[in-house]
Symmetry: C2
């Protein structure tokens, strides 16, 4: 088996598709060589040797011969000799695995130099500054990566220290201000550093240098950082890294030399044309190290027009060949362009969309490929404002990324104040220990919400996501000090009125105002989405509780409402008073009276939502949360409410107390409410059907789907369905008008899943409530999981947060069972998902595979779901004809 | 098809096994007739006609002919004629369905009498008092059950009123003080009552009387009470009732007449010999109505020795024939014994056991049949003291029957006082709003515990059941007023120091002292249990946390401990301080220090349990509850603890606050604790294995099984198992001794059930924690279910409380899946159940059927489980050879 792959003079042993053996860098060097692109000659040592070497501690005996032969070929091509004292062959040595991976050994340049050949090189080039600068760089890099000479704890890197001391002694501001003789002296100093650190002199034999470097590259596969990175990113440990040995070319031999990096298109915007930066008379590491400010690539056109033209040509070849935007490294040596690397370029979401669409339009890729190019999660960034990535931030603490986006505002600690300031046009961030329905008006007025307690489904998180508003929840380091009107965070204090910036996508809480980048949906985005719609088989609906949400979601392409949570309608304004009156009523009469007050408000909500969703289905979930969620908790609020309702404070407190539950998640909620208080279900059904009749009378096409929550036993559904249907008939008779409608149920409890066959005989549709189904299947409260789930993820007990990505092995197994036995009992059953997983790409794939009809997610995730559904359809090869 | 079945002169058309057609009463009358037992002749109209009649509103035309022929046969046998003016044939008409059922028409006696034949009867018998008394009884009974003449709202029954008026007018104290002429006048008054109520005269034609009665019997199948009873008891509605028409015999024709009821053995104790009561010169209804005090049956021997001897003989025949204790009705007419009814006699649990064992010993039934005769739940009464059933009680309110048994004590509102009084030998009942670990010492000292809040798995309930101590939990009408040192209950006040009686088997809270009946386990009981052990295939273990519990359970026949909850060991004495110190420690060092204090105490507990269970397996569950359960909640307790631990009150409050969970049931508990704090698992494992080594060194045979709780993902179990095994090896090396042990897991989350195949690859045993599995599968918190579950059961949404009887359809489906895929992955996997269902007979049947190896339940339910396991084995015909 071949272990060394050469590339030189337009011919290479390797190819681009040999990344497993050659690593990404080596494979692409080979490919470029074969394409006739100017690449310095070199060879790659196979990554297959890496793992064997690490296990056995030695390299195969045959390797030496192969490498020697490869070096010989380089000598023939270049006319130089390895170790030659006057015309030495110098090489770079670089690691390169299949996947780009931080933590591995990066680069050793100028390998092959020693005392003798440095002198020879100085003479041959007539540039002793260049020769000794190259040599001292070799010693420094080699010392660092092969001998591991680093800064001691808290100290300075000994090479850097020596250079700094020299510059100070010479009064030199920059490296280039040092004379050749200075650098020659520096070489000696560096060699001393090596002796002090290793007890041995810097190796003078180029072969010793080469083999030392090869061993070091292979060993770097095992650095802690590399191992950690692989674990986190799921890269197999037995892949190994290749070693690339390439003849040196120099961008630092004079003004006709340069080095730079380029993207074949703008990686921020996706615009056509080269984009990058370069330095004249410099080596690559100068660009990276930032010791000199590089110039925009366009300047190269002025400077070295022929080289620039060649770069443009080469980049065009590369893009056409690889059919994607490339990120290249190049060096111009005495006017001659050399390509040192090419790889697929990283890009922003915006650029990714633009590039994919442009390339599809240009015929470089087809539309399916364009879709494949965009990671669904990536476009999340396009839908929300984001922090200006170029800004330095003062991070206060981090909480849960409860609702994406970014926001800036002044700290306000109570909802009333937030509302007042919000109305006055001020930007505020509402900060609360945790929020309750009483804070709703403040949340509406605020730019964003920050809480110290609560999880990803806490009140704050759910409400914020529903409103598409940035929220950081459960930032547990924050102590909200209402008395002092301040937050205490890790020893720092932020007073009410001070500016905060929240990043709801990462959970960062930042002191001060960070500039935001507004979202902008381009035409390209719209076109890409329309291509997605053409191939996907899953419908995409939205979770929306208000006409505003519905409107927004429809703009994002939602094909209906999959979940309209009626309880959120209960919190606004004086509705909450009627709700509380209903809860506190001691008899049926009292409850009915209070419900009658709610009826017209609910009806009006539904009318507006039906209008907004004209022609599309609207799934309305009956009241779900436990009643105590509507009651106040704090003494002051209780006092006020008691006064409003005209009951004694004691009685109210008693009711609050009695309704408090040990485990509200598993308590008196969902259809359990509708069964113990059928009048609530009746009122809601009446509001729905009256609204439907009213909207239909206006010419709106209404498609209501009534959804019964938290069914554990088919009998619950049977009774609630009967009540809904009876109410519908009553309304239709009164209004002398019928509308078609469905009655179905959430599948959000394990018992519902395992008895889905029975439930399917009653339900006209299933909607998986994967939030609750995950909580109950795992026995894991999302509000409480913060205490150990992060550790579970970090230490690998769980591979993914099951609230973010559907747990297909456990929860998914129950869902598959439910779909299977449900459809067996009722073959045309409509099945969807309305948990937050509905907007998670991996989970969307699962829904596609399981044969569901639709996913439903928050408005802001609708485009993500559309794209993910398209991916699922493409991935499984079941796409419709385009 | 035959609709009328006659019985007369030792020959009957029917048989005992025709209860579906003839009803229980009719079938047994036929059977007795065939056995040659003196039964008055009669016939039974088939129950099959009942439902048809109710649906169609009319009887088949053929019936009239059949009935006429049957009456003719009665006329031939008796030599009397139906409607004959001088020697009238009189009959009784009674309903009788397959199952005894309250609410249906009971009895009409003396049917066939009218004005003319009453006079004739008076003449023929020379006893006109008898004749008119019989006639007026007919009119009254007929008026009541056929015409529905009842007392108006708040008024008196018009017949009773007329009788009372007559007695007052005559100055007669008793019915018998009325003269024949008085009764003749009463007949006229009664006839007027009928005319006034129905507008028609009392029917004079005996055939009209008979058909009216037949219709009335059939219609009584549909009375509300009968329908309700059938629904509650699961009796099909289409069964219908038969009609029994039997020639009248008279126990009221003189001193050589009598009527009575008898059990063939004592129904309270099971003792051999007739047991019952009788009245001389009376009709059956006099015994039932209680207008005269009946005499003990033994007296009949003196009175009518021949009749008594015949009764003894007949009862012997019946017992041998039916092979069970009989409950009979008889009448002696002029010295001649007639049997009017026989049926299997109801009996106490104690009697049931004694009778079954005696009959098996006597060869009347085999041992398997003896086992079948005892309902497992029934013997619960034998294991706890019970309230004297003869006492009147003053019911204060009712709570949840959280732990069975009965107890009497004075009200005490705090644990310290309860402990002090308990130590002083006083009997107290600890009454708390709800209990916390801080109340433990008071619970130990109290006779029983009563709480106003909390469900069937509240702290109070679980601890009480563990101690086999009576507990009524969640008696929500009770307001505990600590300031006033009193309870307010539905407008009544009970002060500290007043006596209460609790019935933990029904949830009754009774004011005052009610005498208790102590439990007594007879020799017969022990023998029956040994027979059960011979046939059952399921092992029965116990849930025991202390050596005392273990000892008790072993006496009850437990074959090991299936669940030893280590956390209960944490609550006692100064242990709780160490636990709290551990929780409040801010670093690993601090936690380890505190755990080191707990280690010797845990070890000592385990040593004692191992000693007690010598030779039997002991399954020890690692720490399960969330840590906040160990922390105090009330301000005062927090203050005290802060002082004890030397931390600020504020910091302690903050910790309590931070650890508080929204849904503790789904929170940071179970193996999640052991994974975030491995040092806890290590300490517990160390204590277990050190104790095992120590006990083994004493010659005890130890069989430890370490159980990891709340596993959702196999990786959790993998890590905890590794930790336990490493600790075991360390201890074995130190102690230079090895013991065999197993490491397994609870299956108590739906995710564990659906991934049981993966888990089985690591676990050496499964133990279904059906409490938690039911909570998560249903999404139903047992502590909160009290608000709606009772209504669910009452209205039939659920057929049974899933916390009492395993929900086989839902939870059971997950368990079957887990057993199936678990055994497939690991065929010799040991599987048991340790939820409270382990002691529920129906659930035990399920466990047997599913192929589990054992059930584990609280000590007091071990005998129940043993018997239920035997039933399961018998029922499935898979029993071992006996």
């Amino acid at each position: 088996m071949q272990d060394v792959y050469s590339f030189a003079d337009g011919k290479a042993d390797g190819r681009a598709d040999m990344k497993e053996i050659l690593g990404g860098k080596g494979a692409n060097l080979a490919e470029m060589t074969n394409l006739g692109i100017p690449v310095p000659p070199g060879f790659t040592i196979s990554a297959r040797l890496c793992v064997t070497y690490l296990r056995q501690g030695e390299l195969p005996g045959t390797l030496r011969t192969e490498v020697e032969r490869a070096v010989e070929r380089l000598e023939q091509t270049t006319g130089r000799r390895f170790g030659d004292p006057t015309v030495p062959l110098l090489v770079s040595v670089r690691s390169g695995a299949k996947f780009s991976m931080p933590g591995m050994m990066d680069t050793i340049l100028n390998l092959g130099l020693n005392d003798e050949s440095a002198a020879g090189l100085a003479q041959a080039t007539g540039n002793s500054r260049f020769a000794y600068d190259s040599y001292r760089r070799l010693i420094q890099m080699y010392g660092d990566v092969v001998f591991g000479i680093k800064a001691a704890d808290g100290g300075e890197d000994p090479f850097d220290a020596a250079l700094a001391a020299l510059k100070e002694a010479r009064g030199a501001a920059r490296d280039v201000d040092l004379a050749a003789e200075d650098l020659r002296g520096l070489v000696e100093t560096y060699k001393d550093v090596v002796v002090r650190a290793t007890g041995k002199p810097f190796p003078q034999d180029p072969w010793d240098q080469l083999w030392g470097a090869v061993h070091a590259v292979f060993k770097s596969w095992q650095t802690k950082r590399a191992v950690d990175y692989r674990r986190v990113n799921g890269i197999p440990d037995d892949l190994g890294t290749a070693v690339n040995v390439v003849v040196m070319v120099y961008g630092n031999m004079g003004e006709d030399c340069a080095t730079g990096v380029a993207f074949t298109r703008n990686p921020s915007t996706g615009e056509l044309g080269l984009y990058g930066e370069f330095l004249v008379n410099a080596q690559g590491e100068d660009v990276v190290a930032g010791t000199r400010d590089p110039e925009p690539l366009a300047e190269l056109k002025q400077h070295l027009p022929a080289a620039y033209a060649e770069l443009e040509r080469v980049c065009g070849v590369l893009e056409r060949h690889f059919r994607d935007m490339q990120d290249v490294e190049f060096t111009v040596e005495r006017g001659q362009l050399y390509m040192l690397q090419t790889r697929t370029g990283k890009r922003t979401a915006q650029a990714a969309v633009r590039i994919a669409v442009d390339m599809a339009d240009g015929g470089l890729i087809d539309r399916r490929e364009a879709l494949r190019r965009i990671e669904p999660d990536h476009i999340n960034h396009l839908l929300h404002p984001t922090l200006d990535p170029d800004c330095e931030v003062d991070l206060l603490t981090t909480g849960l990324p409860a609702s994406p986006g970014a926001a800036v505002g002044t700290v306000v600690l109570d909802a009333d104040k937030a509302e007042a300031m919000g109305r006055a046009g001020e930007k505020v961030i509402l900060v609360r220990r945790e929020t309750s329905p009483d804070d709703f008006h403040g949340m509406v007025a605020a730019q964003a919400i920050l809480t110290a307690r609560g999880g990803m489904t806490s009140h704050a998180a759910v409400v914020a996501r529903g409103m598409g508003k940035c929220c950081v929840a459960g930032a547990k380091d924050i102590l909200v000090d209402e008395a002092e009107r301040a937050l205490h965070v890790n020893g720092r204090t932020v007073r009410e009125g001070e500016w905060l910036t929240l990043d709801g996508s990462t959970g960062r809480v930042i002191l001060g105002k960070v500039p935001l980048v507004p979202p902008g949906l381009s035409d390209e985005f719209a076109r890409l989405m329309s291509w997605a719609d053409e191939v996907r088989m899953l419908r995409v609906r939205t979770n929306a509780d208000t006409p505003e949400d519905a409107e927004r979601a429809r703009k994002f392409g939602a094909e209906g409402i999959g979940l309209c949570r009626t309880e959120h309608m209960f919190f606004e304004g004086d509705r909450i008073d009627a709700v509380r009156e209903m809860i506190l009523a001691t008899d049926l009469e009292g409850r009915r009276r209070a419900l009658l007050k709610l009826l017209p408000m609910q009806r009006q909500d539904f009318v507006e939502i039906f209008r907004t969703m004209d022609g599309l289905p609207v799934t309305i979930r009956l009241l779900d949360p436990p009643l105590h969620e509507f009651l106040p908790r704090r003494d002051e609020e209780i006092r006020e409410l008691a006064e409003t309702l005209g009951v004694t404070e004691e009685r109210l407190r008693h009711t609050v107390d009695v309704l408090t539950e040990a485990n509200p998640m598993l308590g008196h909620r969902g259809c359990r409410l509708g069964i113990t208080f059928p009048e609530i279900t009746e009122m809601q059904a009446q509001a729905i059907f009256e609204a439907a009749c009213q909207a239909a009378a206006e010419g709106v096409e209404v498609v209501p789907e009534v959804m019964v929550p938290l069914v554990a036993h088919v009998e619950e559904l049977r009774r609630q369905t009967a009540l809904v249907r009876a109410t519908a008939e009553r309304v239709f008779a009164e209004r002398k008008r019928r509308v078609e409608y469905l009655v179905g149920t959430m599948i959000e409890l394990p018992r519902a899943a395992v008895t889905a066959d029975q439930i399917a005989e009653v339900a006209e549709f299933f909607s998986f409530g994967t939030n609750d189904l995950t909580q109950t299947t795992f026995g894991l409260s999302r509000d409480d999981a913060g205490r150990f789930l992060p550790q579970y993820l970090e230490s690998g007990v769980l591979e993914a947060d099951p609230f973010q990505t559907l747990d297909q092995e456990g929860v998914g197994k129950l869902m598959e069972l439910a779909v299977h036995i449900g459809r067996k009992a009722s073959p045309r059953l409509k099945i969807g998902i309305c948990g937050e997983h509905g907007g998670d790409p991996k989970s969307v794939h699962f829904c596609h595979r399981t044969g569901m009809n639709y996913v439903s997610c928050s408005p802001f995730r609708v485009p993500i779901a559309r794209l993910a559904a398209a991916h699922a359809a493409i991935g499984l090869g079941k796409e419709k004809d385009v």
